[in-house]
Amino acid sequence: MTRRLAALTLALSVVFAAGTDVASQQAAATEWLVSRADVGRPGGQLVVIERAEPRTLNPVVAVDAPSKEILARTTADLIHVDRETQQPQPALARSWTVSPDGRRFTLSLRHGVRFSDGQPFDADDVVFSFTVYLDEKVGSPQRDLLIVGDKPITVRKIDQYTVQVDLAEPYAIGERLFDSVAMLPRHLLETPYTEGRLARMWAVGTAADAFAGLGPFRLREYVPGQRLTLERNPFYWKTDRAGTHLPYLDRLVFVFVPSEDAQALRFQAGDADVTTRLSAANFEVLMRDRGRRNYDLLDAGPGLDYTFLFFNQNTVAPNDAPQVARRRGWFRQLAFRQAVSLAIDRDAIVRLVYRGRATPLWGHVPPGNKLWVNRSLPRPSRSPDRARERLRSAGFSWNAAGALVDKDGQAVDFTIVTNTGNTERIQIATIVQDDLKQVGIRVGVVTLELRTLLQRLLTTHDYDACVLALGASDGDPSTEMNVWLSSGGTHLWNPEQASPATPWEAEIDTLMRRQLTERDVQARKRLYDRVQELVAENLPVISLVSPSVLAGTTKGLGNLRPTIFDHHALWNVDELFWRGRPAGGTR
């Protein structure tokens, strides 16, 4: 009996020891990324306002901003650009090396990482992910970002935790290429991919357990029209300095509120904890109330968006009316554009439209883009007199009624279009209209629905002038290639040129192409500085203003470090926690 018991105990203890040994091997095998943020406490939920419902939950095909914002919380990339420091940091890749010529990256993957459904992650998933993104038949919008030197990058598996990436030519942005390229679960998506139905997977109605991702959260439920709830991913590969597994929050809830004013209202009422798209006017309204309602308002400073006025400089088609040709002739004269720029009261725009929470611009790179802005551009102050001088030098004059007329005695008048639904742009157009009235130019303001507007701008070229805004997601010049290249599709004032229409556009083309492959940061900056000079001198766009990034959050959110980069408040959602409230949430 004793012997049998001893044998049994021995057997059991051997099994047990082996078991714990295996388990501890597995636990030791996971290489956690340790966050350097303050140590917080787990628990609670965070309710975030989102402007529209996601169109898909498939990272391969998502194009719209709401889908991408939600997917950014449920997926992870190999190398991630820290939104605060702007520097690339290890994520799923724990380290990497770059070949001297800059064309080969060897990434060493983090060991022991698992997807949100528990399945392991390794190089096979990486290779699979890139195969999918680069497949033309799948048609992922990510594909364009992975083409360097006109050739797609190639990704090879070296061993279970190492991949090698080859580029056709050196790429200026280097490893930033990998930021936000979500790694996909081969075990769930390979079959649909080989069967050709990957693009249809993971649509918004899909059950939560059909998803798997590597982000801090995973889908819990989606009630269309109301809310989308994400829950903590128990397999997330980050911990804090005390060893607690991140994320701290149990749940992340997105509520959908389409209009900016309604967003401000809902936030003020306490329906949500975070809102990041406040207009300056609503920011002021909320400021008055903040003591009573327990929220913090944050001004993250000048952002990356820039609003501008531009004129139609397309070549006149042979069957266009003579008035069209005449107008186009005015717009193509540099002195005319310079005069318009001198006449506009940018300070009034900052004061009246943005309540002071914006910066006037004379170049297209806003000061919020600290790494790339050219600080030595001239900033001529508003001067209707100098505007008139410029107009005179271009052959314009004024008739008895005070209206501006061109060389042939025709009165100068044109229309500014902008999109409905953006009250700030309409206000800016109204201010410009009044400013130009002071120099005798009659301006009409017409608002159009956005898609119609874009069609007029980019396809039919049937417009005079437009007030529009662009915003880079990370400020790097490579994201705006299509705007500044004369052949680009969003080269707004004269898109898709067969060959550059002007010498300065040709120069910008050369500079933009060179900066794309220039790996030395200083040299690249000099190239892009010159581009900014050319734009400020030749005024294809008359830069007006750059609004500040304004956000609001419930008080007591720890580790909140708002930035001007997307997502302004949630970029480090895995580190956010509630102070003082164990199961915190909405007010």
Binding site: A348, T415, Q427, G444, D462
Partner: protein, 334 residues
Amino acid sequence: MTSRPQPAGRNYQVALVALGVVYLAAIFAGFLAPYDPSTQSRDLAFVPPTGLHWVDMSGTIHLRPFVYEDGRSYPLRFFVRGAPYRVGRFFQSDRHLFGVDEPAMLLLLGSDGFGRDQLSRLLYGALISLFAGPLGAALSVALGLVLGGLAGFFGGWVDTVVMRAAELFLAVPWFYLLFAVRMALPLRIEPQEAFLMILTIVAVVGWARPARLIRGMVLSGRTRDYVVAARALGASDLHVLRRHVLPQASGIALTQAALLAPQYILAEATLSFFGLGVGEPVPSWGNMLAVLQRYDVLSSYWWMFLPGGALLAVFLLYYLLADALHERVAALPG
């Protein structure tokens, strides 16, 4: 058939006179308004209504009210020279009923986001908003008279065609149609022209309701003794229509017009509210109210609601008029 004693007609008179005053004020907006509606004073954005004072800080009562600016008092002056304006096509002047000297500004109804005087904008805006009403109503009712009259009088396939067409027009969501129309219009037409075009479309689309009513009236009138008698005496269709049927319908038509006018005023306001009406800087009550879509304006600047109050007052006057008209029509024999 006995006729009821006619009502005293006082409502009718009050409504007519009041509306007349309002319309006169709109026509003479240039004279009554102290400023040009598009002049921006960028340092005076969203200023609440200026107070007019009669007693100054030292306790002295002044007969002439004044405003304060920077510690100085500026008395209200009458028949001042100001921004030039036109009334209609021919009368031009720069005299305004009242005003204050520069640099003070008299903002009796406050200012908007660009520092433009709301009172001036209200008066000039009345031109657009108030004339949109009767114009649109007249057009709709005229069309309705013709088509409804024809349908009711001739019956048969004419009736069927017209009535089915009416149902179609009633079913069309004209609001969305207007967005499409606006997009199709060239950018370069004058904002007033674009607006008139859109209003015409609204009015044309709106013929259906008056048409149905008129048709009903005509149908019932057609079988009356005197109509039958006229036909028996050899009167042509046109004659009967013109002399017997339509005059009856005209009473209804007039009431309809009085009811439709405020609806079209509201239609203009709605269009302008959504950016489809007159463009900047031309004011209309609708686009003055559009700014209330912004939460900050809605919650902080109460004086921006005043065009809504003006609309309400005008609607009430119109309904009073329609009511009075209706009573007169009901009192008529037959």
